[in-house]
Amino acid sequence: MYAAATESLIKQAREIKEEELQRFCGRIFKLLHTKDVSGDTVDSLQRLNLIVSATKYARELPSDLVMKLQTLLRSSSCPEQLQVLTSSIIRESFPSSVHSLCSDLSHDSRTFSHVASVVLAQVSHMLFTISLYSVHKHLSNHLITFTRILCSLNPDQVNLVSRKLVDWLRYASMQQGASMSSGGFFSGPRTRQPAPLTEVDGVVTGDFFTVLCLGQSYTEDQWMNMYTFSMIKSWLLTYDTDGTTNTESDDRSEVDSSVMSMVSATSSSSRLLPPKERLREKAFEYCQRLIEQSDRKALKKTDTELQKACIVESVSIMDIICGEDPSYVYRAFPCIKALYGRLNGDLAYARALLPIAQFYLNHSEIAAVDSEAVFCQLFSHCPAEQFNEPMLAFEFVQFCLLNASVLQDRVANYRQSFPNILKFLAGNSSGLIAEFVELLPSLIASDTAIELLHTILDLPCLAAALDLQQRSACYQASDRSAWDQQGAKVAACLDAFRQPSYRGLFLYILRPEAGTGDTIDRLKMLHEILADMAESPRVVQCAQVVPVLLHVYFNTVTQVRVTNERSGHLIAHTSTKKLMYTHICHISQGLNCVISSSVFIVTHLQALCKLHPPLIVDQSREILEFASSPANIYSKEDFYTHVVWVIGEYLSVSYDPRCTVELITSFFESLEAVLFEITQVRQSASPPSFSPRLITVLMTTLAKLATRSQDLIPRVSLCLSKMRTFARSAPVMTCYSEEDTEEIITRAHELINLLKLPNVAQFVLAPSAGGDGPRWHRDTNASLPQGMRAVSGLLHRHSSSLPT
């Protein structure tokens, strides 16, 4: 499709020299002055068009050529192709004065449209002063063009336009237009009678004309009807949403008696409404008629698709009208309810359910209508059956985003349905992740937060399970050949999917609602079953978005002030537990690597502990187990470092009264043992594979723990004094830089000295919670500055007694 020839053409267009361009323009200028339009002219203009649009920077064309092009553009006798080309060239080239173009409004709609497209491209503020008469005269020809140009109409103009729109919308002709090729040689006068219009299913039309009426050819006002309906929604949004109704009595419009009006259910008093209100009324009727027409079974596929689009548009327009004038709500609801009843359960119309749900959300309270069934259908059934429709998924998620706060408050099963909603993400991770990053906080509820965390972590499993479900539905069990064609791995997983013994597992992962428990024990088995699907592209993409979601989850959980202290604590508790067990079995390699990535876990671990310091004591067994094993250093060094830091920081009586001396001692002993083990100086020792930072953090933590249980101080001092030997040993010298070894030695020194003055050490190493406040440091009467002065004084006096 895209060939090297295209690329070289673009290159040529960009690299054309200025003089060559000027010469080319000169040639075109001469060509344009000849009477007839030759193929050469068109060809040259096409090339010029390419030249001006191929670059980011505008090309300046000679002004005489530009004037000539503008003249051509304005003349009605110019062939369309030239108009299109000149319009495009002027749009793209360096803008000269376009005001000359605006000076007179041409009568010819095609010309005007092309002129307008140039003007619109280059002028940001339209300062048209259009007289009332002018608007009326030109409106019929230039509807779409006009509504783009006139970005701010005064009320008189709005009324004028509204009246015309009502005419076109509601009172268009009811007979087919004169056909160009009516009959043939043998046709008599009778056959040239205009045939009646039909509905999309072939039945003759009985009511006013709409976009769903078919005819061999259309009259002018029927075209206007179609254009009007196409733009009526943006018109209403722009000019009808200021909340004020026009109550001027002299603006009551009269309908032209020449326009045919059909029998319909409107009250006769509608003729006396001001133009804006009348337009609303007519638009409402039009929408009702379209909804009714959409029930017919269309003969052509294009028309079926159009019916769906019309339903969506009509419900949206009715929503806007009801928003402006609540009295319409009572008329709208029966229609919408009937529509919902018709579409409910029909998968082909799932996208039309969303505007209906929006309508219910906006207006069901006013009308005191029960909307529970609608939302139940929306959240409980829709995602499960149609998660793999990308357009529906996108619109569904946008709907949730737009209405998140209302849904949280008023629709009970919104937050409960997160397993279903996440199916959209599992089915289309790359496309929807940006939306889900914004949506996820609204799905977090205190009672289901833990389950949500588990669900997020299992998202790749969900993607695999959904894939299997789909394939299983497509292929019959007996059709082994089709099954086997998908590859041995997938076939094996499919077999597992079909087995009754694993049914429960799959039912759990594919559940539509939360509330059946945080997770199930046998999930590990599911991971093993699905391991073969780990390389499937959809699963891999899904695994890539999980860390992003986890970030969002933890940010929300740690920042939002949970009103229920206990539930907040529970969330923090379980989240940390999950993080600790980094042997979480996941079927995607990618996920494993990222989960142990430092930045991710570390950020959240610290935040969680800061929020709930008692966590350390709660989780003391697991943390102790984790911290005691040096193997963890080698596989998850960064995480280990932070765990040690957290222990030093938060394991104290001031944070949790349950922190006993025995607990501190047991932590101390484990960490001491680890430090000994990794800093053993042996002949055959290999260079350390961990960073020097781990050593310093371990040393500092041990010192901190010692200040809290002062019997441990001698042991720490002994341990620290061995650090110098370690740092100066041959393997370490080769591995660490000079500054790092110096740092280790210096830190060991500082800690030993500090621990000689236990009370001071306590202030420095383990300040109470107020230690973060500035007063602690600035107030000369507070303890820390005093302590520091005492230390410096003592150290100066005792400097001679420092060990070498």
């Binding site: 980011k56 548009e313 357009m391 496309g431």
Partner: protein, 195 residues
């Protein structure tokens, strides 16, 4: 209302880096809402840059979607436009609050082999209708410009796309066309192309 329509590459282009997309046709609709502080030339440059950002994002969306579905791309040739369109993948994504276009604009894309057709829609647009319009425009482009063949007709005959958009998407307005309206417009387009 539609803010802009783009035709751009989704295959690797030798002169560009891997993630970049070459825009073959771009049409921006509607009054500019940019600042009055910039000169017209600066505004034009900004607009071109914005279009490139959209094209890049659409390209990556197409690539990710094709990767996920794992489908094999069967190369269709001239004359098989309907088949190519049937095989095409489509999707949409939001531009979020980026200051590219009116906020929360949605990009609708349709990937046909090595090219993609993208439509940037304002928020609250009827996306179901937009999808239909995009497919219709793509079908016309494939047929009138012979995109399934080799050759660089796309670039020189871009006035055909202009004429097409003038009828099917006048000033960015999506139209509710039943098959008879569509047929009438198709005839007009065919007569333009044959000149």
């Amino acid at each position: 209302m539609v803010s802009c329509f783009l035709i751009h590459t989704v295959c690797p282009v030798s002169a560009l880096s891997a993630a970049e997309s070459r825009i073959l046709y771009a049409r921006v609709f509607g009054p500019e809402t940019g600042d009055a502080d910039f000169t017209p030339e600066q505004r034009r440059l900004m607009q071109k840059e914005k279009l490139h950002v959209v094209a890049r994002q659409a390209r990556s969306a197409v690539a990710l979607s094709r990767e996920a579905s794992g489908g094999l791309c069967v190369e269709a040739v001239l004359g098989e436009e309907a088949a190519a369109l049937g095989e095409a993948d489509s999707g949409m994504f939001s531009l979020g609050n980026a200051e590219l276009f009116p906020h929360r604009s949605v990009v609708l894309w349709l990937g046909v082999q090595s090219l993609a057709f993208s439509l940037v829609c304002r928020p609250h647009e009827n996306l179901l209708l937009a999808e239909g319009v995009l497919r219709n425009i793509a079908r016309h482009c494939l047929e009138e410009l012979r995109l399934l063949g080799p050759g660089a007709e796309m670039l020189l005959k871009s006035d055909r796309v202009d004429a097409l958009l003038h009828r099917l998407l006048p000033h960015g307005q999506l139209l509710f066309l039943n098959h008879r309206f569509a047929f009438a417009l198709d005839k007009e387009i065919a007569s333009y192309v044959s000149k």
